[in-house]
């Protein structure tokens, strides 16, 4: 089922077209990565989807509701974490979330339970009574995720959820995002300018640049499309004998093998991980690590970044 749909969505500020005829379709349950450099129009698109900004032309729908005309219905089923999310600093984490619950028509015991559950899910249960002013950036971001969970939305929009957070915090937040998406069957739209983060959690990607949606689809689709169907597989072996390398080279679909000592980069027409591992084990080799690299997608993204 299509959860999010835009039709020729356009936003013009003065003489600049910030979002230009964007047609987007996101299915229910997908984690969609919105990729693009700063100023590509990601945030504006999200704001129009949420009904916070009215489009100059075109339409946006979430779960069948028109984002502009039925903004309140949309806001009831959609959660949003803005790029610079803020909380009332003089209120505790719990009070902040209870306020959100009340605004969504959840009161009393039910609100209390929902808030405790959400704080537990993001690992802030111990600090529930603490004033938000003492929270670090990473903790605030997790609190923002809890803030969304309180609402129990069908869709969540996360605008640059990892900016300004240390690597450990980023891992924590990305894991949290994929976890809540799975356990609540939530559709998530996450914007970022970092491909690596998008690749870690998202099943589908849309790349935006200068207001245009350049391409959208599943990560595999895009990688193939971008790299003329080339896939790079990186493997590490306990010992890379010439025998093994030769056998890989002879596999149908393998275009080239390069690399030094025990790590090899294999370029092939499609995902040949299964065949490659079989060949290696047949030859008595041991794989210590194997990774499917999407260099191709990164190339495309870098080209866009440079162009912008």
């Amino acid at each position: 089922m299509v959860m999010i749909e835009t039709n020729q969505l356009t936003k013009v500020y003065g003489h600049t077209t910030v979002v230009d005829n964007v047609n987007l379709k996101i299915d229910e349950g997908h984690i969609f990565g919105f990729l693009g450099p700063n100023g590509a129009g990601k945030t504006t698109t999200i704001l129009m989807l949420l009904g916070l900004t009215s489009p100059t032309s075109g339409t946006a729908h979430i779960s069948g509701f028109d984002s502009t005309r039925e903004a309140l219905k949309v806001k009831r089923i959609a959660g949003y974490i803005p790029e610079r999310v803020g909380f009332y600093n003089d209120m505790s984490a719990k009070q902040n979330l209870e306020y959100t619950a009340n605004l969504n028509g959840i009161f009393g015991q039910k609100a209390n339970q929902g808030v405790s559950k959400a704080l537990e899910d993001v690992g802030l249960k111990d600090r529930a009574e603490e004033v938000v002013a003492h929270f670090s950036k990473g903790m605030k971001q997790r609190l923002a995720i809890a803030d969304i969970l309180v609402k129990q939305p069908k869709v969540a929009f996360l605008d640059e959820p990892t900016t300004g957070i240390d690597p450990a915090g980023i891992t924590q937040i990305l894991d949290l995002i994929s976890h809540i998406a799975k356990s609540n069957n939530m559709t998530i739209v996450m914007s970022s300018h970092q491909l690596s983060q998008i690749q870690r959690v998202c099943s589908h990607v849309g790349i935006m640049s200068k207001g245009h949606l350049i391409s959208a689809g599943s990560i595999e689709q895009l990688s193939k499309q971008a790299g003329d169907n080339k896939v790079v597989i990186e493997i590490q072996l306990a010992e890379a004998t010439a025998d093994i390398v030769e056998a890989i080279k002879n596999l149908p679909g393998v275009i080239g093998v390069e690399g030094e000592t025990n790590s090899l980069n294999i370029t092939c027409n499609e995902d040949l991980r299964r065949q490659i591992s079989k060949v290696i084990s047949d030859k008595g080799g041991l794989i210590t690590q194997m990774k499917l690299q999407s260099y191709a997608l990164e190339d495309v993204y870098m080209k866009i970044l440079k162009g912008a």
Binding site: K75, P82, V85, D147, D159
Partner: protein, 317 residues
Amino acid sequence: MSTFFTVTKKELQDHFNSWRFMVLLFVILAAITYIFFAAGNIKSAATGASDFIFLSLFTATAIQTSTSLIPSSFLSLMAVLLPVAGIILGLDAINSERNNGTLSRLVSQPIYRDNIINAKFTAGIITIAIVLLTIVLLVSAMGLRMLGVPPSIEEIWRLFFFLVIGIIYGGFWLGLAILFSTLFKQVAVSAIVTIAVWLFFVVFYPIIYISIANMISSSTQAEAIKNAEMVINLTRLSPIQLFNESMAVLLIPQMRSASQLLQIFSTDAGNYLLTTPLSLAQSLIAVWSQITISIVLTTVCFALSYIKFMFEEIRSL
């Protein structure tokens, strides 16, 4: 509607828990000291001459000063403190939420956007009402103890209207502060601009109309009256003047019309007044236009901020 009450409740909690409320407590304390002095003066001067001794608590000169910058009576103190209360409660209403990043989270909840600003205004008005009511009750209680004269029914009604007009007056400054907090992104800028507008009306506006009055020469008596009227009308462009006039007429029943005010505040008051007091209804009619304009001004301020807030785009910048 329930989201409106949720936001109002939260805003009220904010007001009561914040440093602003501590400032307002000092306001209450200041008001009480004034009454203390006023009651002493009334005791030593007037003894049973007037029918409205209790009301004179609020208007009697409490502190003799040579400069107009220091309020002399409880009433003139209120003319200063109500704006302060309104400005304190409204000066960062919208822009602090915007700077904090809470506004974009708030507007993404299922809530009509006007509920946010309506609730903020309502919470401010309720706070002002509570403060003013507390002051009036405290002052009445102290006056009752120190003078030993209970208020008559009419005096209570007049005090009730004093409360209502005081709240409207505080509401005007609250509305103005909220308006500037929607117009300016920085809290410091909106605060300074609001305070500047207030200072303009307190300090500079009198200088302007006094110098205009001095420039106009009048040879005949008819001309002199005409000029005086013009100056009075000029003063009425100031919301502070509107408050002073309506309050004076309501709390000093002997006062026949607001135009006598200039004389009252410049010279020894009572001499120009007929001693028979007006009925409450007549007093209200005398200042009806002042009250109406105050309400209009308050509404305009709020309406402007409402419009600005409704059509503004909220981005997390």
